[in-house]
């Protein structure tokens, strides 16, 4: 009897525990996409995620913008013991296994995917246009922004403008042509221009406004050679600059003081980094480290350093040279001139002069990395206006606004660079504008795109006045980067790679 009682007790124990098994997971601290979007605030949270990825080391923190900087004739390699992938990008002998490309390519698509998810989440709410379109417009802007960079760097590539829930379905898609991609970009920017506000909350410049969309439309049309439309959009921004809150900063140097970055009214769109917060590759910027003087700016790597000719051909009377380049540093109370620098050339100064609250060498700085500022819109208006035959008074006028600001040498007015004459020919004005772009927007990853859209490669790399001679520059290949080989292996439909790779 005692035995059967025990048996029953034991079996009872067993049965109770059987009933306690629940194998369904209830995740805590994790977000599920299916149930995430309920209000516009959720859509905003998703859109903001894409900015977080833009402000990361593989994109504007270091890899992507450094690749563009090195590719141009304004920036060369300083420390030649740096990793081979950077040397290859700079020297035009990269291959499809290039490490810089394999680092930034996937992250661009994380941005695009985040934007697509936010857009689709917004559309799923079924709200009225006025309530939700500004946020959807932001998502579309981010996608357009990303593809605008990608199409200029890679040419044809897969165009994804929908939220992805089954990635294996995308395994065999083909590349879209540049025309298709540009069509998508323009459509997104038009929507954005229509629905984005004129100013964001607190006038932040790391979120787009209608002015941002119009400025980028101007740049897209300029790249395509559609100068009439480029001019129209640029003019639109210029005419409405007060509505959007754009103006040229009085002192050119104030653009590069990190502590002041959030107050720069010239910024049209920037990636916002916060000083000293270390959370992985997010918020990690190393442009100061990449451009600093190794031996006199401790913690820097001196990788991206302009050639000596950049310094020698830039007029000393130009304040912007003074701000953009550094040729002497006071180190341990001793003045050191550039021949004593580890790489004996003047270095880029824009990001190392005032990184604000930052770590060694300027890493994790407070900089906002500006991708478009008002000065560029003026330069676009000048160039596009000249191309379509706008009067010299107008086009030269735009150029001269930029030059006038440049004459303000930290509070003291100088007379260099002089105003441009209004009577120049179209060709002269365009040449002048291209050169003004080179100096005004120096080291801001603009020059390579200019070389590419105007097909200046042979003359700037192989011509007699080349700032960075590269006799191996091959115009049939080197205007484009190769798609990463790993992608072609996974999806053979992406073959062939860009010509020459």
């Amino acid at each position: 009897m005692k035995n059967s009682k025990n048996i029953i007790l034991g079996l009872g124990l067993a049965l109770i525990s059987f009933g306690c098994a629940d194998l369904e997971e209830k995740p805590v601290g994790v977000f599920a996409p299916e149930t995430f979007f309920n209000t516009p605030k959720d859509v905003e949270t998703a859109v903001l995620g894409s900015y977080g990825v833009l402000a990361s080391e593989p994109l504007f923190g270091r890899q992507f913008n450094s690749a563009l900087m090195l590719r141009s004739d304004m920036v060369d390699i300083g420390n030649r013991a740096t990793s081979a992938e950077r040397i290859q990008v700079n020297d035009f002998n990269m291959d499809s296994n290039n490490g810089m490309v394999s680092r930034f390519w996937p992250v661009w698509f994380q941005v695009i995917n985040a934007a697509n998810a936010a857009e689709s989440g917004g559309e799923s709410l079924g709200l009225k246009a006025e309530e939700i379109n500004p946020l959807i417009a932001e998502a579309k802007f981010v996608r357009a922004f990303s593809y605008f960079h990608l199409v200029r760097v890679f040419g044809e590539l897969p165009y994804i403008n929908f939220a992805v829930s089954d990635p294996t379905a995308l395994k065999n898609i083909s590349k879209s042509s540049e025309a298709e991609i540009y069509a998508g970009i323009i459509a997104d920017l038009e929507f954005a221009k229509q629905w984005l506000p004129s100013k964001q909350k607190n006038d932040v410049r790391s979120r787009p406004t209608a002015g941002t969309a119009a400025s980028y439309l101007a740049s897209v049309y300029l790249t395509q050679g559609n100068y009439q439309k480029a001019y129209d959009e640029a003019k639109f921004v210029i005419d409405n600059k007060d509505l959007f809150g754009y103006r040229l900063e009085a002192d050119f140097r104030s653009l590069w003081i990190a502590a002041n970055a959030d107050n720069v009214k010239e910024t049209i769109f920037a990636m916002d980094f916060l000083g000293q917060v270390n959370v992985g590759s997010q918020n990690d910027d190393l442009i100061p480290n990449m451009t600093g003087v190794i031996n006199f700016q401790p913690g820097t790597f001196g990788v991206s350093v302009p050639s000596l000719k950049v310094y020698q051909t830039w007029d000393n009377k130009d304040y912007r040279k003074e701000v953009s380049l550094v040729d002497t540093i006071v180190f341990n109370a001793v003045v050191r001139a550039f021949p004593e620098f580890t790489t004996p050339r003047p270095h880029i100064y824009k990001w190392t002069q005032s990184p604000g609250n930052s770590n060694t060498g300027g890493r994790f700085s407070d900089h906002n990395y500006i991708d478009m500022r008002y000065a560029e819109v003026l330069l676009i208006a000048a160039e596009a206006g000249a191309e379509v035959g706008k009067p010299g008074t107008e086009t030269a006028g735009y150029l001269n606004q930029v030059r006038e600001r440049a004459r303000n040498w930290g509070g003291r007015m100088t007379n260099f660079p002089e105003d441009v004459s209004t009577g120049l020919t179209k060709a002269q004005l365009i040449d002048l504008t291209m050169d003004d772009r080179r100096l005004e927007l120096a080291f801001e990853w603009k020059r390579w795109y200019d070389i590419k859209r105007r097909k200046l490669g042979e003359s700037v790399f192989r011509g007699p006045n080349s700032l960075e001679p590269r006799t191996n520059f091959d115009p049939s290949r080197d205007y484009l980067f190769p798609l990463p080989n790993s992608e072609l292996i996974i999806n053979p439909n992406l073959a062939p790679n860009n010509p020459g790779y």
């Binding site: 025990n6 124990l13 059987f18 995917n113 000293q276 917060v277």
Partner: protein, 1002 residues
């Protein structure tokens, strides 16, 4: 003889009556034997011999007394007229009666159909170790134990028959006294460890058995007088080897060759001397055990303290084990095992993931740091590297940085065993474990790393709970004397919950608060926390049938359901079958005097690897740190895509084995051939990046491990001079059979600050996991050589010369395998891998009179090492120190060398120059002990007193030029522990020890 004499002298009683029978039990070596069990056959009356071997028991004349003791042949003697019955027991060198612990029960060795290795207590305590698993190294065929890093309390990599996975853990399952996933106590508290290797033995653990199972049985008390055991040892330790670096004068010469303006710092510091010290171990264990017929107990406290061979590093462990078993009634036995432990660790940075300006580790910087700088500047601050990366000096990093880890663990295991009938038993168990720890790290401003941020502090903690309940019935019966049948069936449920959190802050007023004042930091960092939960429910069963003890059949199965598994695949079934044939019992061998044992075994089955982490099958958005207008805002982005079909990994293993005994088991041989194929490997299948997701977890891929194990134990001589040998040797061939789309997967494992190393290893079909991938080094270019062009490759005399092996493309753009005259990424190939061709252990035990001598060799053959340490030091390009190899570098005056020239323009790259032979033979332990004679010790009530001296790791034969060939860099976490084998960077050297110790039993 003595028996007959006594019989004759004793009055003979005519009537049979219960009376006191007494006597002395001795062994065949002449020693009296305490603890021998004496039972009146057919009753429950019993006793044990006392310390002097004497016993006394109530027994009727005509009954039989059964004398038994582990390791001795049992004897049954009839109680005759005499009241004195002395017995001499003979040593049983047969291992047939040995009892082996298997899943959910025990089996006699002769009945075993699976492949199981058994390691006894003596081998586990041969020398003091922080973790009992360390003592398994070289002891069992097919079991590989390696220290990843030599730090005190450091992690060990255990592999049974090779690594079965790539992205999931290949660690074996530990079962402690039946508690699946329990924690092992101090080595002195372990009775035995059984390693279950083939499917027949492991399938009963179902979805967790694929990597083998290590059963740990803790010591229990025995009926009889209370025993007190005290074991202590002290060891003095040094690093096994030092590296030969340039001294200040050589460094000056070496640096000025490329930096003519370099000025020496004036000192001559040997940085290895600054960071290494004589380390030590002290180990104490005190156990009290005993019992009666109805209960037994074992209580033990242990303390282990290791001072590391690098300053400011150490490990200590305090533990308490309490095992209690008692008979609640005739039919019910209850057991309660309690275990409590505290571990503390002081760590220094070694094997750092990135050793750049502010994160160089102690060993890495001791090799790189310029020898011409003193430890401190005249103002008392620590020196920092003057050229190159501004790293802190090694002494500063070791002594200034604080890293303290304290973890507490409580484990309880209760079981109740009902003997329902003679043949049917029911057992129910409840195990519970809670584990929590805290790690504090502080980087003060005396280090460059801390100076820039004003001091950085962090505290991280975790708390894990694990509960398991098992219920099973076992039925066994012998039908018709020949058919031995037993069946086991059970149900189990296990729940575990893991939580963790971390808080950090920077910029403090003073260094003295360390990490105990996070609110005082003016730059707080982002905290984080995490939670996960897993539940597993299972049904399992085993059937054993043997015919005449000659033909043995076993069938195992387990049906597991886990919450980790995806929606569509929650349950998994794992069966296995085995057959064994005791050929010795066949007519043609029965009378053989050559063979005392001859058993063939074959088994085949499926086991699983849980592999999937909690929530891994679900789609997810994750937080993204985003700043708007200078402040962080809430932001998320899609990071994971769901896989509703994800399933566990399955291993199918086939095993053929034979156990042979020769010359009455003086020679025992066990050999096994096995082949396992693991399929449905969990893979982060690279998705096209343009999908926005880097990868999706899918079940694609197969790995094969096949190999041969041989274990031989011999009793070479017996008697006064006793010499026994045991040797084991295992080979394993690991091969990737299938990868997603058959494509190569390239990945990198180099330290982050060695930029440009890029991809260093490859997963390729047909090759072992983790093969090294790089260029082939062909020596140094000489004047007049043709220099091969290539971006980033040298084209000068004195430069590194690499081989052009590929690059030509056919019409479709595919590589043809022909050289193209250019050096680039296409010229890379597989240059080695870290898997050993074979591993072995050779143990010799000698004893003569009271002395015992143990010599234990252990080794690994055929494994290669990719040394990032030597890559960093000997590329000879940069501003860091180098090894004395640099003295043989190419110069126009010294052209006959394969060490290239000194330069500043050489890219660091993975090539065959950095792949070294990691084979080694190591004298793991040599111990000489002396057992004081019983006669002497009994005078002070001591039953055993042994003192010994020993040395561990004192001889290592290896060609590897790094610290030690037993090393695995970047090998923690599931994926890396499989893919990163044989890498070395800035590792904490293993230690060699000189030990003295004492064992006392009262």
């Amino acid at each position: 003889m003595a028996l007959l004499f006594l019989l004759g002298c004793t009055p003979i009683f005519l009537k049979a009556q219960t009376r006191q029978v007494s006597g002395t039990v001795t062994s065949d070596a002449g020693e009296t034997m305490p603890g021998v069990s004496i039972v009146v056959k057919g009753t429950t009356t019993g006793t044990t011999t006392a310390i002097d071997g004497k016993y006394s028991i109530n027994a009727d004349q005509g009954t039989t007394l059964v004398f038994s003791f582990i390791g001795m042949i049992s004897q049954e003697l009839a109680v005759g007229n005499s009241t004195i019955l002395n017995v001499e027991l003979a040593t049983d060198i047969s291992q047939l009666e040995e009892v082996i612990v298997v899943g959910y029960g025990t089996q006699r060795k002769s009945d075993l159909t699976g492949s199981v290795s058994s390691i006894k207590a003596a081998e586990l305590t041969a020398f003091p170790v922080a973790n009992a698993v360390q003592a398994l190294q070289g002891r069992a065929a097919g079991v590989s134990v390696q220290a990843n890093n030599g730090d005190p309390g450091g992690a060990l990599k255990v592999r049974i028959r090779g690594g079965n996975s790539i992205n999931a853990s290949s660690d074996p399952l530990f079962v402690v006294d039946g508690f699946i996933g329990g924690t092992i106590p101090a080595p002195e508290d372990i009775q035995s460890m059984e390693v279950l290797k083939d499917a027949s033995a492991t399938a009963i653990y179902g979805s967790r058995g694929a990597n083998g199972v290590i059963m740990v049985t803790t010591k229990k008390g025995k009926a009889g007088k209370t025993k007190i055991d005290f074991n202590t040892s002290f060891a003095s330790q040094e690093p096994v080897r030092r590296m030969d670096m340039l001294n200040a004068a050589q460094f000056l010469d070496y640096t000025q060759e490329v930096l003519p303006n370099y000025i020496s710092g004036g000192a001559d510091t040997n940085w290895q001397d600054e960071i290494f010290r004589t380390g030590g171990i002290q180990n104490y264990q005190l156990a009290v055990s005993g019992g009666t017929e109805k209960m037994n107990y074992y209580v033990s406290g242990a303390f282990f303290d290791q001072t590391g061979v690098i300053i400011n590093s150490g490990f200590e462990r305090y533990s308490l084990t309490s095992n209690l078993n008692f008979n609640a009634s005739d039919k019910i036995t209850v057991g309660l095992n309690l275990f409590a432990r505290r571990e503390g660790k002081n760590g220094v940075v070694t094997q750092e993931g990135s050793g750049g300006a502010n994160s160089a580790g102690v060993v890495g910087s001791s090799l790189r740091f310029m020898p011409d700088l003193p430890v401190t500047n005249p103002d008392g601050s620590f020196t920092i590297a003057k050229i190159g990366d501004p790293i802190d000096n090694p002494f500063a990093v070791a002594s200034q940085r604080e890293d303290e880890n304290v973890a507490d663990l409580l484990q309880a295991n209760i079981f109740v065993n009902f003997d329902i009938t003679k043949n049917l038993t029911f057992k129910t168990t409840l195990g519970a474990k809670t584990d929590n720890g805290r790690r504090g790290i502080f980087v003060p401003t005396t280090l460059n790393q801390g100076l820039n941020i004003g001091g950085g502090a962090s505290i991280s903690s975790f708390k894990n709970t694990n509960i398991i309940n098992e219920n099973y019935l076992t039925y066994s019966k012998i039908f018709g004397e020949k058919h031995n049948f037993s069946i086991l069936g059970g149900y189990s449920i296990q729940k575990s919950q893991n939580t963790n959190w971390l808080a950090r802050s920077q910029s403090f007023i003073t260094n003295s608060v360390s990490y105990w004042n996070l609110e005082g930091g003016s730059v707080p960092q982002i905290p984080n926390s995490g939670f996960s939960e897993v539940q597993i429910a299972s049904l399992y069963s085993r059937i054993n049938y043997s015919f005449n003890s000659k033909y043995l059949f076993t069938f195992n199965a387990r049906y597991d359901g886990s919450s980790n598994f995806s929606k569509n695949n929650k349950w998994a079934f794992f069966p296995s079958g085995a057959f064994a044939w005791n050929m010795k019992d066949e007519k043609f061998l029965q009378e053989s005097s050559l063979f005392s044992d001859f058993k063939w075994r074959v088994s085949y089955g499926l086991t699983g690897n849980q592999a999937i982490a909690p929530y891994q099958t679900l789609a997810r958005f994750s937080n993204v740190f985003t700043v708007i207008n200078g402040s962080p805002v809430n932001a998320v982005r899609p990071t994971t895509v769901a896989n509703d079909d994800l399933t566990w990994e399955t291993t199918r293993q086939l095993d053929f084995g034979v156990d042979i005994g020769l010359f009455e088991n003086r020679i025992n041989l066990t050999a096994d051939y096995y082949r396992s194929v693991t399929s449905d490997l969990l893979f982060s299948v690279p998705l096209p990046s343009y999908s926005g997701f880097g990868s999706q977890l899918q079940n694609i891929g197969k790995i094969e491990n096949k190999g041969f194990e041989l274990g031989i134990t011999t009793v070479n001589t017996r008697g006064e001079f006793d010499w026994r040998t045991s040797v084991n040797i295992s080979t394993n061939r690991n091969k990737v059979l299938e990868l997603p789309d058959g494509n190569d997967i390239l990945y990198g494992s180099g330290p982050g600050h060695l930029i440009g190393l890029g991809q260093t290893q490859i997963l390729r079909v047909g090759e072992p996991v983790g093969s090294f991938f790089g260029w082939i080094y062909d020596g140094v270019y000489q004047n007049g050589d043709t220099f091969l062009p290539g971006g980033g490759f040298e084209q000068v005399a004195g430069g590194e010369k690499f081989r052009d092996i590929d690059g030509e493309k056919d019409a479709n753009g595919k590589l043809t395998g022909n050289p193209d005259g250019r050096l680039n990424a296409d010229d890379r190939t597989i240059i080695g891998n870290g898997q050993a061709k074979f591993i072995w252990g050779l143990n010799n035990d000698f004893s003569y009179k009271g002395f015992d001598l143990n010599i234990f060799f252990q080794g690994s053959q055929g494994n290669k090492i990719l040394s990032y340490t030597l890559l960093e030091l000997e590329t000879l390009s940069g501003s860091i120190n180098s090894t004395t190899e640099a003295l043989n570098r190419w110069t126009p005056a010294n052209t006959d060398t394969d060490v290239p020239s000194r330069t500043l323009n050489r890219t660091q790259r993975v090539s065959s120059r950095w792949v070294f032979d990691g084979s080694y033979v190591r004298l793991k332990n040599i111990a000489l002990g002396y057992n004081f004679p019983r006669a002497m010790t009994e005078k002070v009530s001591i039953s055993k007193l042994r003192i010994y001296v020993s040395a561990q790791n004192i001889l290592t034969f290896s060609d590897y030029r790094g610290f030690d060939p037993e090393v695995n860099y970047s090998s923690a976490g599931a994926t890396n522990s499989n893919r990163n084998l044989g890498l070395d960077y800035a590792s904490y050297p293993n230690a060699k020890s000189l030990t003295i110790g004492m064992n006392i039993s009262f």
